[in-house]
Symmetry: C2
């Protein structure tokens, strides 16, 4: 017997498939033998070191079989497939054909009896007694007169299926792994802010206490992850000034990513931000608001970092004995020293870096956003994340690798829970359709979980520079509904910051990376209420909580994008239509696959716009939509299947 | 470093890729690292136990790399991939950027010098001397004044590429196999005939001597494989009569596939056909005509087979002690006993069956057509073919498994050289396009070699029953030009036999499987000259000698099929257009990808119909074609790129 073409299976089983608690793993395989005999195939799965569970697989077409199991706990599962020729079911199938052709079956009854007799040995208790009764019945001299009845009775094949001989069972050669994470790995709304810009009054350096005071604002918008850029002491040597100036002024605060000063490094908190007590208060207070604190981990050092003094061997030296700063020739980043992961003391270095995660886990952090993981060795991440997940399976890692696609995918395979994406640069209908299809509908979706960000402190995309408020709303709806996980960098996002440092640049003018800002959260033009509304829709509708059901639908205007998501039980269908043009009203005819959505062809259905509040009666697959970006650039429709008719009226019959 | 997504690779390397002598293996892989360093990748290959050869791979786009090697000998090759970070090339790339930005590079010159110095150790002779000279040059106090020149000179990177440090090289985890066969595995024209129907005069049982006398006829049509149904003694017990009648008449000759009688079994020749001396004469005479004799191997027995008497344990018994005949309930084939491959004595049985191949190999046979291999265990074929190919790598096996696609593909993976296909049942443009694309353009083509048969003694397709002479010509052109390997069953094919045993049946009326026929080879309506012409075109045009270049082209009439094949060097382009409608003249506009064919857009080109002899001047991608099936249902065009113009006239300039 052959078992091959197993899906999901990543790189011949080298890497784990990712799922979250409560999700199903639907496994398919080609299962076939070298004869016309009837086969049975079984999906085997187990959690950690538990024993195997079995689920019968069902044949589809073309020798393809399918089985499914649910993962209920965080941690590791494995699955594989076993199959065997079922001699009894083969006999039973042929026996029915012989009986139908009115052939003599005396000898066949005896052959069947012998197969059942052998199964009695494998059964016990009542089942064994019932099988024995069947042996007697098949050998009854009168049996040949009751063959039609023997064919019809379901008991015998049901029993025999359970006690099939597995003497010649074939098992698939590999045990395939599943990494099961908690739900937030799949469904999360991230908000990034600079703590030092969080002071309520202008002119003061924000603190962790200020961040705590801002929690109601963040929770009010509906976010559940609050991500903080590095909170560590910032280096002085080669400190960058405002707008990334090479020379800092005395009052410049520097970039939080130039980690380490005389006050400490990756395991210290910047004195101006507060204390560890403040940090733990923040983590606790956030939890009460349904928010988790995510910390930035950037493995690099300012020249002032204690590691530089204590462990110069962890860095690469130049011929003159100085430490090699970061470079992307001809650019030089003299405020940053990269680690030399291939140093002779690599083992000590790697352990120390892993201990940074463990240190913050000890202070209550369960989510990390990892800065530029693609500039560190793949082997480091596989080891580091693997060991941490073994001890702390609830810890999540977001990979910030804006690099080539195969490197991003590799990092996901090696263990990163979520990944930043190219979403910020996907603007047109064709771009969005192609990219989101790739990351949600191909085998990429089995290991790579996209997290869509319309902006970050490093990325102010051109669309947001030129498209005005409508562009922010449009990009926000796209991120929050295309992606079960997404994030924004605020308050610049909700305040529609759109000024680049210079024309053609994607950096913010007066970027918070290099200076403190004061934000007036009560600005009347803030998008915070709009954001809150979209996040409420996300929370209230299961369809938006995962990506695997995403499908794009035709609409005869390239400036309009239409897609749907459905809940796992198929009962809830959400249809999003977005005007990608932030300047002009656009209209078109959308075409929906009503049959797939379970809408009867002959009846009208209601489209309830959860965003705008309107309700529309639609009929048939093609309907007209029009969106004015200056009012609201999107519909988020809930499809309500039945419109009432006279047949539903209580006196109709 | 990561090396993954290697193609070709079948089922994670479990099975060998197939090629023939002189073909190239083009290997692609995703190769990338966790940094911005410059990588080198090398394709490694070796034949049998020879040492490794190396071919540098070149980057394409998106981290995809490609390398290629040629297989020159029959037998087994393996290949894999190695890659490493090239520290020198990384330095060289960055050095050029620094120089272009007019940065100070004094320290970089020293870093470069150290890298070259290390390479001197790995080099020898003149190369070592040249590298040493470069070390001195990079360390020359004046070097900083000549950096532009250092950047430009190609010698240093060329030398350093050859002596790169491979201390941290990554090798792909698997060695992938190639089964290299002789050319006939890829390019072959088969002709099947019943020896007992080969007598020159009516009424006599044909002999191997008669087959020998028929060789000029077969060679005259251009075939290079003559395949004979089983030549063994035919059983008497339950012998089938004419038209598969359950009761044979005394003069009925039975089916050659009911193998074995008192005169012997699989290692005997039917006495009415002749002797081993006749057989060996036939093999030799055929060779002189450029023809190989292919023998049928059908592992099944008539009840009269000596095996049944000598080894009843090789068969399955029924409860009453009789041997189980073949069945497909409710159908019974009481003239056939299948072997029980799972008998306790399976090892002895398997050895004996393998010895049947070895026996005929001993009598000069190098090609076998294996009957119904899918009803024998996969494991048997993998072992049997594997061992035979180890000793006799020139032996070819054609799998006659008309069964479900994945089983057919599995048999090909396990070692069968060629396979019958569904071609006989693919009639429409959509069916032919989809099926031929699957077997020639997907990864299936790496292990499955299709052999296209428009008819066999078992299959008289409906198209040939209803389509008349035009259908035979049309189906013949399709088989012989879509497939580098194809075959017909004659003389019924060239004599256009079209009568089924009964309406709706695909069996021939008065099939040669059950009775002797006399064929008048001089029939004026024979297709033999047409067949000879097509086979000559095949032999004279490299484009038709393989399938990998097959491409279908648009034509605006569903009854017209257009496709092209090209020689490996791309220089020869053949374009075939077939009228799939055997009843009516069809016309349409065909669209050719002229740019791919290397035809300049502004010049006319000549289409030379190798079949009809006509020459047409075409212009631009879209041209008109019309085919009357009652004249000839196809064009086989050779595209001749240049039509002469005044610019080619010798006095033009």
């Amino acid at each position: 017997m052959v078992i091959e073409g197993v899906r999901p299976e990543i790189d011949c089983g080298r890497f784990a498939v990712k799922r979250t608690v409560g999700e199903n793993i639907r496994v398919e395989a080609d299962v076939f033998g070298d004869s016309h005999d009837v086969l049975s195939a079984m999906l085997l799965y187990r959690r950690g070191a538990d024993g195997w569970n079995e689920v019968p697989m069902e044949p589809l077409v073309n020798d393809r079989w399918r089985g499914e199991f649910r993962v209920t706990d965080v941690g590791k599962y494995v699955y594989t497939i076993a199959g065997w020729v079922d001699r009894f079911l083969t006999w039973h199938r042929d026996f029915k054909k012989r009986v139908a052709a009115a052939q003599k079956v005396g000898m066949d009854l005896e052959i069947g009896a012998r197969l059942v007799e052998a199964a009695v040995e494998r059964a016990a208790g009542d089942d064994a007694r019932r099988l024995s009764a069947w042996v007697r019945r098949l050998r009854d001299p009168e049996a040949a007169r009751h063959v039609e009845q023997i064919c019809e009775e379901a008991e015998l094949p049901e029993l025999m299926r359970r006690y099939a001989s597995r003497d010649f069972a074939t098992t698939y050669g590999r045990e395939l792994q599943v990494q099961v994470d908690r739900e937030r790995a799949r469904f999360s709304a991230w908000y990034e802010l600079f703590p030092r810009s969080a002071a309520e009054e202008p002119g003061r350096h924000g603190t962790l206490r200020d961040v705590e005071a801002r929690l109601p604002y963040v929770a009010g918008m509906g976010f559940d992850v609050l991500y903080l850029p590095p909170v560590h002491p910032v280096g002085l040597a080669h400190r960058k000034g405002k707008n990334n100036a090479v020379e800092a002024q005395p009052d410049d605060v520097g970039s939080p990513w130039a980690i380490g000063g005389k006050e400490g490094g990756h395991k210290a908190i910047h004195p101006d931000l507060g204390t560890f007590e403040d940090f733990e208060r923040l983590v606790s207070a956030a939890r009460r608001h349904g928010i988790e604190i995510a910390l930035d981990v950037a493995f690099q050092c300012s020249p002032d970092h204690p590691y530089v003094r204590e462990h110069p061997e962890w860095f690469r030296s130049r011929p003159d004995g100085t430490i090699q700063y970061a470079e992307n020739p001809p650019k030089k980043y003299q405020d940053i020293y990269p680690f030399d992961f291939e140093t002779d003391n690599w083992r000590e270095l790697w352990e120390e870096l892993q201990s940074v995660f463990l240190f913050w886990i000890g202070h209550g952090v369960r989510i990390f956003r990892v800065d530029n993981p693609h500039t560190k060795p793949f082997g480091f991440w596989q080891w580091c994340i693997g060991e941490i997940k073994d001890k702390h399976p609830d810890v999540l890692f977001l990979s910030e690798a804006f690099t080539r696609p195969k490197i991003m995918y590799q990092l996901a395979k090696l263990g990163f829970t979520q990944s930043y994406t190219y979403f910020a640069w996907r603007n047109t209908k064709a771009e969005l359709t192609e990219y989101l299809t790739e990351v949600t509908q191909t085998e990429v979706a089995d290991f790579f979980r996209p997290n869509l960000w319309p902006n970050t402190p490093d990325i102010l995309p051109e669309m947001l520079q030129v498209g005005g408020r409508a562009a922010f709303m449009m990009r926000f709806v796209l991120a929050a509904t295309l992606g079960a996980s997404y994030g924004i960098y605020g308050p610049p996002f909700e305040h529609c910051w759109s000024q680049p440092r210079e024309p053609g640049s994607e950096e913010y003018l007066n970027s918070e990376k290099y200076q403190i800002h004061h934000h007036n959260l009560a600005r009347p033009d803030s998008l915070k209420d709009f954001i809150a509304r979209v996040n409420r829709i996300r929370r209230e509708h299961a369809a938006l909580k995962s990506d695997h059901s995403l499908r794009f639908h035709p609409i005869d205007n390239d400036q309009l994008l239409c897609y749907s998501k459905r809940s796992d039980d198929g009962g809830e269908v959400l249809i999003v239509i977005v005007n990608l043009d932030p300047h002009h009203t656009q209209s078109g005819w959308v075409e929906l696959p009503l049959k797939e959505f379970g809408v009867p062809a002959e009846r009208a259905y209601q489209m309830h716009d959860l965003l705008g509040g309107g309700r529309f009666l639609w009929n048939g697959p093609k309907n007209f939509v029009q969106l004015d970006p200056h009012v609201v650039p999107a519909h988020i429709f809930r499809l309500r299947k039945q419109v009432r008719s006279e047949r539903d009226f209580e006196y109709f019959l």
